[in-house]
């Protein structure tokens, strides 16, 4: 099925900042591209077992960050991200996931390219810097 063939009525999520929209005094919402980007980010950063009664949700990226900062680990992280998104985010179709070890900053730079299923759009990109924290 072509990406462009499906139509969605749009996606609307709540912002995790819980800040107030100065215009209407309501909570700030996230729509479409932003909502999906936030969702992808949430999925990657969720540790399996973190969500109640859903022990498989999330990715093991967090654990991989403490491995060697090299291409092998980067490859594992990429696989993990791809699997997680395939399993839990049906709204996007992955185009490419690039993970680069950044030795200077001691982090992995992640670039995720994807199409949104049901919305006419170009390739979307999310950049995430994965830093091991304790």
């Amino acid at each position: 099925m072509s990406v462009q063939e499906r139509r969605s009525k749009g996606f609307k999520d709540i912002s995790a900042t819980f800040k107030i929209n100065p215009v209407n005094n309501d909570l700030i919402g996230l729509v479409n591209y932003n909502a999906i980007a936030r969702s992808v980010r949430n999925l990657i950063l969720t540790i399996p077992g973190e969500r109640p009664f859903n022990p498989v949700l999330g990715s093991n990226v967090n654990a991989l960050l403490f491995n060697q900062l090299d291409n092998i680990t980067a490859s594992s992280i990429r696989t993990e991200i791809e699997t997680t998104i395939d399993n839990f985010e049906p709204r996007i179709e992955l185009n490419e996931v690039i993970v680069r070890p950044n030795a200077e900053q001691h982090r992995f730079d992640v670039l995720i390219k994807y199409y949104i299923v049901g919305l006419p759009s170009d390739v979307q990109e999310i950049k995430i810097a994965l830093v091991p924290t304790r």
Partner: protein
């Protein structure tokens, strides 16, 4: 849409409710995607609701004794109605031994604490036996001190002491160990730690007779299956004051694991009257049977069951239900109890209560236990009422099932025969037959269930058939015939009269037909073979209904052939079909064809009028798997091998016309003659009943019965007695 469903207790259901609510009431759309922020919030809300629901549910449940699940809550609720759950019970072992070579010593004392240990590893566990109090015996003139029949308790003796402090107004006296047998608790109170003035406190469980000066204590179970001792307040029982020192001794046991031990060796401490230890001269310990009486702490289910019952009985045994409630409290090993008043008997015996108890292990209670029970019950019973603990009477149910099955639905191959193999329950596993094996396994589970194994149990025919039908998907139907049986314990070589009560009406077969029509009249009662004085051949019991069809006459017959009875003696007893009772006039049985263990028995069975068999009064129903048969038959209609039913194998819904139980012993076959194998006779077989003169037969003394059996299962004569079991 309002959020209306408040009864969900499952996380996913709660989450679905919240999603439904948002779907109907909000602009947000991402609740369906697990990665969204909204989904995280929904998870949090659902989790919070779930925890609250769980807590609310738990709190509500734990408030009521019926629904409480945590032991400390059940115990606490039982405490409100004055019920103290039974503690773990140490197994008791009666032991005797002597100490010799004691010269110029007036007495010796066996010190409390460890007395004996298991001589060898018993079931991979070692056990110790202790006593909670010192035992002093005098030394005989021959220098031997004899400890005779002292009761040893399985477990370790422990001591705990407290110094009473007025600075601690909430001081508690708690036994820190689990597994305490509360019947072994001994409490002594010293005036102070340096004083030699000592008083013993007794354990009480009621306020009757307790005054301000009474030296008593009460116990209550607290958390962790531990016990707390409660002392008085100088209004009810004497109060402890500073600087009293409380010494508490008790035994911590292994419960039921300590039962059935026979080999122990001495490991105790004996001192002379002046405190000198005795180190030699001990004999081996001889025990009076196996250790018994050990049991675990009362279960939560038991507390829920008996707590309210004991409360309703108010610790008084007045009605028969009171006895049934109190006995498990007194005797922990009671699996099932039946109590009934003598006024229910025929003829009535006023002023007596009869109790039958089925112990968890074994069949009968020992006389020692019966005596103990009587004395314990004396504390509760109404004055003037006599308690009689009688032996258990078994009423066996035998089921013979023809099980039809669809041969297309089972992998087994039974060959081309339409009628498959016949197996008894004892033959399980001999030949693979999934239908039969499944049916027998299901029957076995039913036989072990509490539905049967209790007093007041009932064999439910429809349920039994249903169990068979549901045991295997291939089974299409079953035809099951029921017999009820009691075993007459023969008193060999003695004249004795016998009475067997079945508590269920007997069915009369062929009573409306004549011999000329080809059917035998009578033979509703069938027995196994036995011999009586004066008759060389093996005889059997038979019956002939009277004109009223409610009672009948019993006769003895021998067999010339499996279907050729020869009556050797008439009027040897009576049968009451209506109440299900068999009375044998005094008869001297010399041998029986069957024995149970070493006990000679005569099995006597009949077909019940109703296929639902009840255990009346002290009768304890057991489904006898040794006589329960499952016969597999291919259902040719359902198997599509004979859809028209032309060759359908019909199974009778009524029992066959065999005259006796077991393999018939024919006249002459015992002296080297050919033994006959019993085959199921066809219903149309014609047999002539031959009668012989009975005047020449001896061994039957037709004395009118004048005695009466209280248990309605046994009777006695002037020259002997016997009972069914």
């Amino acid at each position: 849409m309002p959020l209306v469903n408040f009864s969900n207790l499952d996380f996913d259901q709660i989450k679905t409710s919240i999603k439904d609510y948002i779907r109907a009431n909000s602009n947000f759309t991402d609740y369906d995607f697990e990665g969204s922020n909204l989904s995280t919030i929904i998870d949090t809300l659902a989790y919070n609701t779930y925890i609250n629901s769980y807590n609310a549910n738990m709190v509500t449940n734990e408030v009521f004794i019926d629904s409480a699940t945590l032991r400390e809550n059940v115990v606490s609720l039982a405490r409100n109605i004055g019920y103290l759950p039974r503690s773990r019970r140490a197994a008791r072992l009666s032991a005797s031994f002597t100490v010799s070579n004691l010269t110029n010593i007036p007495s010796v004392t066996l010190k409390k604490g460890l007395v004996a240990v298991t001589s060898q590893r018993f079931g991979n566990s070692d056990f110790v036996f202790s006593i909670p109090q010192d035992i002093t015996v005098p030394v005989g003139a021959n220098g031997v001190a004899e400890f005779f029949d002292i009761i040893l308790y399985e477990g370790s003796y422990l001591e705990q002491s407290y110094v009473v402090s007025s600075r601690d107004p909430d001081q508690k006296y708690i036994l820190p160990n689990t597994g305490v047998d509360t019947t072994t608790i001994n409490v002594t109170v010293n005036e102070s730690s340096t004083s030699t003035v000592q008083s013993t406190y007794k354990q009480y469980n009621s306020l009757i007779g307790v005054g301000p000066e009474s030296r008593v204590f009460f116990i209550q179970e607290i958390d962790g299956e531990r016990y707390e001792l409660l002392f008085g307040d100088d209004i009810i029982a004497k109060k402890l004051v500073e600087p009293n020192e409380v010494e508490i001794g008790y035994i911590v046991s292994s419960g039921a694991a300590g039962n059935n031990i026979t080999n122990v060796s001495f490991a105790g401490s004996i001192v002379t009257n002046n405190g000198t230890p005795v180190t030699k001269g001990f004999s081996f310990i001889t025990v009076g049977g196996q250790s018994a009486g050990g049991a675990g702490i009362e279960s939560i289910d038991s507390i829920k069951k008996y707590g309210p019952q004991v409360y309703s009985s108010q610790n008084r045994a007045v009605t028969s239900a009171d006895y049934e409630a109190l006995i498990p409290k007194i005797y922990a090993e009671a699996e099932s109890v039946s109590a009934y008043g003598g006024e229910e008997l025929n003829p009535p015996q006023y002023g007596k209560v009869f109790i039958s108890i089925k112990p968890v292990n074994g069949v009968f209670l020992s006389n020692c236990l019966k005596d103990n029970l009587r004395s314990e019950l004396a504390k509760y019973k109404v004055a003037g009422v006599m308690v009689d603990v009688i032996d258990l009477s078994y009423l066996y149910v035998e089921a013979d099932s023809n099980v039809y099955y669809n041969s297309n639905l089972t992998p087994m191959q039974l060959g081309n025969t339409s009628r498959g193999d016949v197996f008894r329950g004892a033959d399980i596993g001999s030949i693979s037959n999934p239908v039969r094996d499944d049916a027998l396994a299901a029957i076995g589970r039913y036989a072990d269930s509490t539905e049967l194994n209790r007093f007041g149990g009932r064999f439910k025919y429809s349920k039994y058939q249903n169990i068979i039908d549901n045991s295997n998907a291939a089974i299409t139907s079953n035809i099951t015939n029921i017999q009820i049986r009691r075993d007459l314990e023969a008193k060999l070589g003695q004249f004795a009269e016998y009475e067997l009560c079945y508590g269920n009406r007997f069915r009369l077969k062929n009573h409306c037909r004549t011999i000329a029509e080809g059917a035998m009249v009578g033979f509703n009662v069938r027995s196994s073979g036995f011999k009586i004085s004066g008759i060389a051949d093996t005889v059997y019991l038979g019956d002939l209904p009277n004109a009223n069809m409610e009672t009948g006459e019993l006769f003895l017959f021998k067999l010339n052939a499996p279907r050729q009875p020869v009556i050797v003696k008439r009027n040897v007893g009576t049968v009451n079909y209506k109440i299900g009772e068999i009375m044998l006039n005094p008869v001297k049985i010399t041998s029986t064809a069957l024995t149970k263990g070493t006990t000679p028995i005569v099995e006597i069975s009949a077909i019940p009028y109703s296929n639902d068999v009840i255990g009346l009064q002290d009768l304890y129903i057991q489904l006898d798997l040794n006589y329960t048969r499952v016969n597999t038959v291919i259902d040719q209609i359902d198997s599509k091998t004979d859809v028209s039913g032309t060759n359908y194998i019909v199974s009778p819904s009524f029992d066959g016309n065999t005259l006796v139980r077991g393999v018939p012993i024919l006249v002459g076959s015992e002296n080297g003659g050919a033994s006959s194998t019993q085959t199921s006779p066809t219903p149309s077989t014609t047999t002539n009943v031959t009668e012989v003169a009975t005047s020449a037969v001896t061994g039957i003394v037709q004395t009118p019965s004048t005695s009466y059996s209280p248990s309605n299962t046994s009777s006695s004569s002037s020259s002997g007695s016997s009972s069914g079991y």
